[in-house]
Structure formats: C-alpha cells, structure tokens
Symmetry: C2
Subunit: 134 residues, 2 copies
C-alpha cells in the first residue's frame, strides 16, 4: 500500500470514530496539494469544532514542517476552529496504538520543523475520548 493510501486510510479511520460518537467529520479534498491552507479533517458538534492534521509513524518521533504547522494555524484562525494534530504511533513496541491528539503548543519547535516524540506525546496529548469529552 502506498504512503498516500495509508494516509487516507488513517484519515478515514478517524472520520469513522467521530461519526460513530455523535460528531460529524469529513475528509478534505486535496489537502496538502491545494493552493490554500487546508487541514486533513474537519470535525464538529454543536459545542466544539476542530481542524485536524493527521500523521502516522512507525518511528518514535514524527516531524511536521513549519509550513504544515503555519497553514493549520492560519486555516483554524480564519475558519474559526481549534487546530489539532492527530498522531498514531504504529511502532511494534507500542502496545497502545490509539490516536493521540496534540495542540500546536504541544509540538517542540526545532530549527527547521516541529517534532513530537512518543513518550512526550503520551504525557501531553489527549486520547480520542478525552478530546471529544466523553
């Protein structure tokens, strides 16, 4: 399976989770390739609305480019939603392969990019249930 297909599968999985829990979520067409900033997923209920950048990784850390982070922030500011990064660590050593949700403040800024590590993400991030307030 291509990297792109895996990314889409991960996004679809997350959309299902929201839709099965009383929210509505949609995948955005052409995210990452549009001339305008756009997230991977928009999800909302009557209380909360969020824009999500989705990432999966087999390693213990994952990078986001400065452009990805800036565009997510810009989109969220103008549209009027909360920006979140959803990450799934699929490393075999990690027993818990659930999604972890991070705010942009949870990311560690480096010279060229933003990074989050598994151990810190587990501490700082929210689970899906915490995010949706179940």
């Amino acid at each position: 399976m291509s990297r792109k297909s895996k990314g889409i599968d991960a996004e679809r999985e997350l959309v299902h989770k929201f839709n099965n829990n009383g929210w509505m979520a949609v995948r955005i067409a052409g995210s990452g390739s549009m001339k305008y900033p756009s997230p991977d997923i928009l999800a909302g209920n009557n209380i909360k609305k969020i824009a999500i950048e989705c990432k999966t990784t087999k390693s213990n850390n994952k990078y986001l480019t400065r452009k990805e982070v800036n565009e997510l922030r810009q989109f969220a500011n103008i549209f009027g939603v909360e920006p979140w990064v959803a990450v799934k660590f699929t490393n075999k050593d990690n027993k818990n392969k659930d999604w972890i949700f991070l705010t942009l403040e949870d990311l560690k800024e480096t010279d060229k990019s933003f990074v989050f590590e598994y151990e810190k993400a587990k501490l700082l991030g929210l689970s899906f249930e915490e995010l949706i307030g179940v």
Copy 2:
C-alpha cells in the same frame, strides 16, 4: 467535460470566491458517495460557518432529492453549521450567471423531491456578497 468534472469545477470556483474574500472554504472528499452525510463545501469565518450543497443547471429549475436535503440538514444540525444550497443557473437566457444561495426553507417540496425555479430563486436567494455580509 463530464458532469462530475463540471460539478467539481463549480465547487472549486466557489471555494476560490470564499478564500478570496477573507473566509476559508474547503471541498469535502467523497461527498455524495460517503456512507455518512456530507456537504460539498464547508466554509467559515469567525462569525459564521456554513455547509453547502452545490448545484449548476442549464434549465430554469433544479431538483434536489429528498435524501440530499435530509442529509444536508442532518450534517448541519450535528456539525453545528448553517445548511445552504448554492445554485448557478447557466442558461444562456440568464444574463446574470452568479451564484444564488438558498436556505432549505426556500426550496419547494414536491411529492418526491425539492425544487427551486430561477425566478423564485432570484427573489428568495442571497447573492454571494449578501451571504458573506459584505
């Protein structure tokens, strides 16, 4: 150009209009073919958020199926946005080919579907500028 391509072109045109006017708008992936209700476009700014079903027609009236209308209403209720239908009448006789925005209350319900006619849509509907409150 296929009917599907024309539909996507129309959606893209509308997304550009929003993004060029201080809003953020995105096309939804797989709208119309997803197992969950989903609109064609989501657009928002910090004040207002809307879900849009896009239609273009060469004739003087256009139908929406009961399923389309119900799903748009359901999505909008749960996500927490306003449901709108955007229609562009491309009939040669119509000098004004701008988009007209209708609420679900503006649609006329028939036995099997919902219909809107050009003359009534012009009277009832909002222009793009009126919709975004320019």
